[in-house]
């Protein structure tokens, strides 16, 4: 297993490098990051432009720019200069990653719990009203544009606040700047109030997929021979459900969840924009807007590493949970 892990990690290095080259070229093609400065009127003195070009390495050829970036990264762990001068890309990514991961973690946690409960129930009570209801809503959530729903949810949140005359839900940021109730409890409700709406939005698409999946794999296991055998042997149905069926049904779900991390990071771009969270999504939008090659390469390296990591975890978990599979 260790050898397998090491091999997988080594394989991913060229993949990562390849994707940074790809993104580097794409950003370079998209235009001049200094455009907004150059366009000022009266125009800034030529010296100003030269200084900026030098700071960002724009006075060098593309291959050299990329090589310098790579060298800086490998030798000094330096992600290069950002278009926004006061930004240190490394620490920016660090703080933004924390915000996004917190959002993703809670979304996944809640969505998974709900998905398993509703998925199992709808498999066990197949063709019941409950099954049809969860199926319908599952499909509905799958079919809704993320930000469309986010905008709706936001206006419901505000409507609720105004009807109870209290600030239960917040619509921007991950915490208040000035806290009226400056106690531990006040902090907790404040953070929770900021988290509820974005968590629902981000979790919803995941939930819809996972509950369908749980239902399908649950049905498959329930109809498999060993569960039938367990039933035939006279085991109580709850025990069969939990010990035999659920356990086997959850193995593929762990894989699927881990593989969905890339989609969740994509969803975070939309969610963070609507709710004004300063996470990885906001950072990505900034890199696009600034045409900031270094920032986008840094963003990409970190996101891709996370995705690769989760894929690896998925594989390893699969091996641990299902004894039939062993990685050589």
């Amino acid at each position: 297993m260790l050898a397998y892990t090491i091999r997988r990690v080594l394989i991913s290095v060229p993949v990562l490098l390849g994707s940074t080259i790809l993104v580097f070229i794409m950003v370079k093609l998209s235009g001049d990051p200094l455009e907004s400065i150059k366009l000022r009127n009266p125009p800034p003195p030529p010296q100003t432009i030269k200084l900026e070009e030098h700071r960002l390495g724009l006075d060098q050829s593309w291959p050299l720019q990329y090589w310098n970036w790579l060298k800086g990264l490998v030798l000094h762990g330096n992600f290069g200069a950002a278009v926004q001068p006061s930004d240190n890309i490394g620490s920016e990514i660090g703080s933004h990653l924390w915000v996004t991961m917190r959002l993703v973690f809670f979304s996944v946690l809640i969505a998974l719990i709900l998905a398993i409960i509703t998925g199992v129930l709808s498999a066990v009570k197949q063709y019941s009203a409950l099954d049809y209801t969860t199926t319908f809503f599952g499909f509905l959530f799958l079919s809704m544009p993320v930000f469309w729903f986010a905008v709706l949810l936001k206006s419901w949140g505000i409507w609720y606040n105004q009807n109870v005359s209290a600030n239960t839900f917040y619509t921007i940021g991950d915490k208040s700047v000035v806290l009226e109730n400056d106690t531990t409890w006040g902090h907790i409700t404040d953070v929770a109030g900021h988290m509820v709406l974005p968590t629902i939005v981000l979790g919803l698409a995941g939930y819809a997929g996972w509950t369908r999946f749980t239902r399908a794999s649950m049905l498959e296991v329930l109809n498999s021979d060993h569960v039938r055998l367990a039933r035939a042997k006279g085991l109580r149905s709850r025990k069969v459900l939990v010990r035999h069926a659920l356990r086997n049904a959850l193995i593929p779900l762990t894989t699927v969840t881990a593989l969905d991390i890339a989609a969740l990071l994509g969803g975070a771009i939309l969610t963070e924009t609507v709710f004004q969270w300063q996470g990885m999504g906001a950072l990505f939008v900034q890199s696009l807007r600034d045409k900031d090659a270094h920032l986008m390469m840094g963003w990409l390296l970190v996101s891709a590493t996370i995705v690769i990591l989760f894929n690896l975890i998925a594989d390893l978990l699969y091996g641990v949970l299902d004894p039939r599979i062993r990685h050589a």
Binding site: V15, N223, G266, G267, L270
Partner: protein
């Protein structure tokens, strides 16, 4: 864009359809009751009422989108004197501030969105099937190269990659379709490769090879048709996720670009109006949901119909 694969692949990917539905007509020597196989599939599908209903609704939507603009009194570019009026007999979906009739706009948006979504599914399916088949059949270096490239694309959140790519182009609908379709292809490729890897070891493929069939012939006659079920289901779900992907891209400002329009463009423009001119926000949104929902139901029905093992359990 990942959702379709995980869901589509999940219940059926592991267990490819045992018999060979599409090969029957040609490879008679290996065929067992091919016609009844197809009939069974049809029968199973038709029994799935929701899926059949969805298919009808979807076809009606397509008809509506492509024929409607010719029958409706306003073009999507027409500027009427009615500025920002709510829905009425004259303007069933109201108008925007310039006086564009929203019904005409939604028709046009629906048309463009369906074009984009269908193209995404087509590009991803054809590209992905080729990708996966070649990769799975040849193994070795070709497989390695193709799969590493797939990994490269799959490790980046596809919305981000699509936005960064689309940033370099004008927002014609077909460019958006190529970008999103191209980015979805590796997903399909990975699934197909998995199936091909298992099928290529089957006895009848061995036999065909022994009889001197060429690589291309084996791929086209045996491998592709066997992966058919999974590919079709995947393609259907790609239509649904395609329409949503275009919407997300439009929200970020990199989808189809005005003055052309799509449902994604319309709801992005209408989001500020949700409380003041709700017709600008809700109508296009409802149509996106309608398209995605019917296609998802359709895909679900197809999956059941094409995967006999699971259907036996269901019915």
């Amino acid at each position: 864009m990942t959702e379709p694969t995980t869901k589509a692949a999940a219940p059926s990917a592991g267990k490819p359809v045992a018999t060979d539905p599409a090969t029957g007509r040609v490879e008679r020597e290996f065929t067992v009751k091919d016609r009844s196989q197809f009939q069974q599939t049809m029968r199973r599908f038709l029994r799935h009422k929701l899926a059949v209903g969805s298919l009808i609704v979807f076809l009606l939507l397509v008809l509506f989108a492509f024929v409607g603009p010719h029958l409706w009194k306003y073009q999507y570019t027409t500027i009427t004197p009615d500025n920002s009026v709510p829905p009425s007999m004259k303007h069933p979906f109201g108008t925007d501030n310039l006086g564009h009739d929203m019904f005409a706009q939604v028709l046009r948006g629906l048309q463009q969105s369906i074009k984009v979504a269908l193209s995404i599914a087509l590009i991803a399916t054809v590209g992905g099937t080729l990708w996966g088949t070649i990769s799975g059949y040849y193994k070795g270096f070709v497989d390695n190269a193709l799969m590493r490239f797939a990994d490269l694309i799959l490790t980046i959140p596809s919305l981000a990659l699509a936005a960064a790519l689309a940033n370099n182009f004008s927002g014609s609908w077909w460019i958006i379709a190529i970008i999103l379709g191209g980015l979805a292809a590796p997903y399909v490729g990975r699934v197909v490769r998995g199936m091909v890897l298992s099928i290529r070891e089957r006895e009848y493929v061995e036999a065909a090879r022994a009889l001197g069939a060429s690589d291309i012939r084996i791929m086209l006659r045996h491998l592709v048709p066997n992966a058919f079920a999974v590919v079709v289901v995947n393609a259907t779900l790609l239509v649904a996720s395609g329409i949503l992907a275009e919407t997300s891209l439009s929200f970020l400002g990199f989808g189809v670009r005005p003055p052309d329009t799509s449902l994604g463009v319309l709801i992005t423009l209408g989001q500020g109006a949700v409380n003041t001119r709700p017709w600008l926000f809700y109508f296009p949104g409802l149509f996106i949901i309608l398209v995605a929902l019917t296609v998802n139901f359709l895909g679900d029905g197809l999956r059941d119909a094409l995967d006999p093992q699971q259907t036996r359990q269901r019915r």
